[in-house]
Symmetry: C2
Subunit: 315 residues, 2 copies
């Protein structure tokens, strides 16, 4: 079955791509690089011996490096795929080893704080272009990756002012070849957009699953049995990697608190409608929210199959 990624490139875009941190995103990038021939050599580095061993077994990289510093030697593309909170230390470690002219990017879910943590360490003569592929699953670790993770998803790049247009074009071409659509944005705006489209949704999903787990009147077994009423949809994203998400909230605090404030105001209004039997107000909101899903389906960001297509083949 064709996977939608098209034929490999006739010439690789990079000689040597170093992926630092091999979880869901790092391993998916390795798969995509290999599948599309994006780099002549793929180097994978990870601080965990167990992860390195898995990467070797999966054979998703041409070389496996024990340290980030060793991994970036000679690389003309370096992508940091570690949790947001680890980026600063990695930047400090790799700085003296970066090849002049290399493009350094990342895949972190927040941008302003990563730029603050990474940029000061990097030497002149490398091109730092932060990035964020808006793609993922609730699975984590090096075995979770697959080549089509970025297909038809958006990757946001947040190049600093004065970025070399050629370097930006090259990094864009890389993501495009991996199947993604590329959008360029200011870091602060990225952080606000992702606060509402990703961070606050994760927060309230974690929150309701926590609330349900703590109830005394309703047992955990009941929560599980009757989860098909809607609850189980929330448990998917509340199963995402805890370290990654802790770092996201600590590093996009202002935008998350701002959006959470809006969410809370709206929820209070909704609560008031229920208390006051405002059926018309409820109906109006519940009608208005359908349009957004239609847009998401029309733009290929979601399946149109009922129930996420969970029941394929049943109908």
């Amino acid at each position: 079955m064709p996977d939608g990624l098209g034929a490999p490139l006739s010439e690789p875009l990079f000689e040597r791509a170093a992926l630092i941190g091999i979880g869901l995103i790092g391993s998916s990038l390795a798969h995509a690089c290999r599948r599309k021939g994006l780099a002549r050599a793929i180097v994978a580095a990870d601080a965990s011996p167990a992860v390195r061993e898995t990467v070797r077994k999966l054979a998703i990289a041409d070389e496996v490096a024990e340290t980030a510093a060793a991994g970036v030697e000679g690389a003309d593309l370096v992508i940091l795929c570690a949790p947001v909170g680890a980026m600063g230390a990695i930047a400090e470690e790799i700085a003296p080893h970066l090849k002049p002219g290399a493009i350094v990017s990342d895949v972190g879910s927040v941008k302003a704080s990563i730029i603050g943590a990474v940029a000061p360490h990097l030497p002149l003569g490398v091109h730092f272009i932060p990035g964020h592929p808006v793609a993922g699953t609730e699975q984590s670790g090096p075995t979770a990756g697959f080549a089509t993770l970025f297909l038809n998803r958006w990757t946001i790049l947040t190049p600093p002012e004065g970025t070399d247009p050629k370097a930006l074009a090259r990094l864009s071409a890389f993501w495009t070849a991996a199947g993604a659509n590329v959008e360029v944005m200011a870091p602060a705006h990225h952080d606000l957009v992702l606060a509402i489209t990703s961070h606050v949704p994760h927060l309230i999903a974690y929150n309701i699953v926590g609330t349900a787990a703590d109830l005394e009147e309703v047992t955990r077994s009941e929560v599980i049995k009757f989860s098909a009423g809607g609850f189980r949809d929330f448990t998917r994203i509340a199963a995402s990697d805890p370290t990654m998400w802790r770092d996201v909230f600590l590093n996009n605090k202002e935008a998350v608190l701002e959006m959470l404030g809006r969410f809370n105001e709206d929820l209070t209004a909704l609560q008031r409608m229920i208390r006051r039997d405002d059926g018309q107000g409820l109906f109006d909101l519940f009608t208005r929210t359908r349009a957004i899903r239609r847009g998401i389906i029309e733009q290929g960001q979601e399946t149109a199959a009922p129930d996420f297509g969970r029941r394929t083949g049943e109908n």
Copy 2:
């Protein structure tokens, strides 16, 4: 491909099953009745001429009745499948036409208020056993139904004290044959359990989609493009039928407000952790919530495939 429902019954459980209100649940029940031979005749009634026309075209019932009163004539099983707010009026309408000894049930998502609205109208000599199949998709209307909607899902029955055990056994057998697991519960407990597993999840999904739609700093186009970061999961249940959900909130007000209060307390605590940089508190919560999803998957209430299996065949 086998659909998992098994062979039809050798003898129907009911002579004449009347389904009153043909939306997602009513049409799925018609399909399931037909597929499993649960009733010798299936009668579908709906107040809307357009829906009746669709039911005729789909040929999912043996007879189509114009009114609920006509629909229940001679039926030994009557299932009310209308929105919660319409149940009382339907009960009043059908009461004089019910066959003595008939079982009257419903599929409403709340139970205490439906019992209050329906029971006073029903004549002595019929068995009123309220029910709620915890199953659904975000689609609505008579074309949305399918025979396996209830397969491996739970149906909750809330029989009043003194219910005839034979009638209860017969209705349980009906749901079991339709593929469901049956649980018996008190109405008030049902309403509390569903408040946390279904009603509050829907409320906060509607709420965040509304919040996102109203932002000025982030455009609707950006919300749609970057929805794969988590937001799109919420849009599925926020696309559910507005009339049905308005009625649920108006009719399960106390339990919803109670559970919403807990959710809000927990969210305030979470907000405080973010503001105070309490990484350990965040990490602990995010770790704890994974166990619930594992339980849901282990008990067959959810797919284990990443991303709900949206990307089947890609990996």
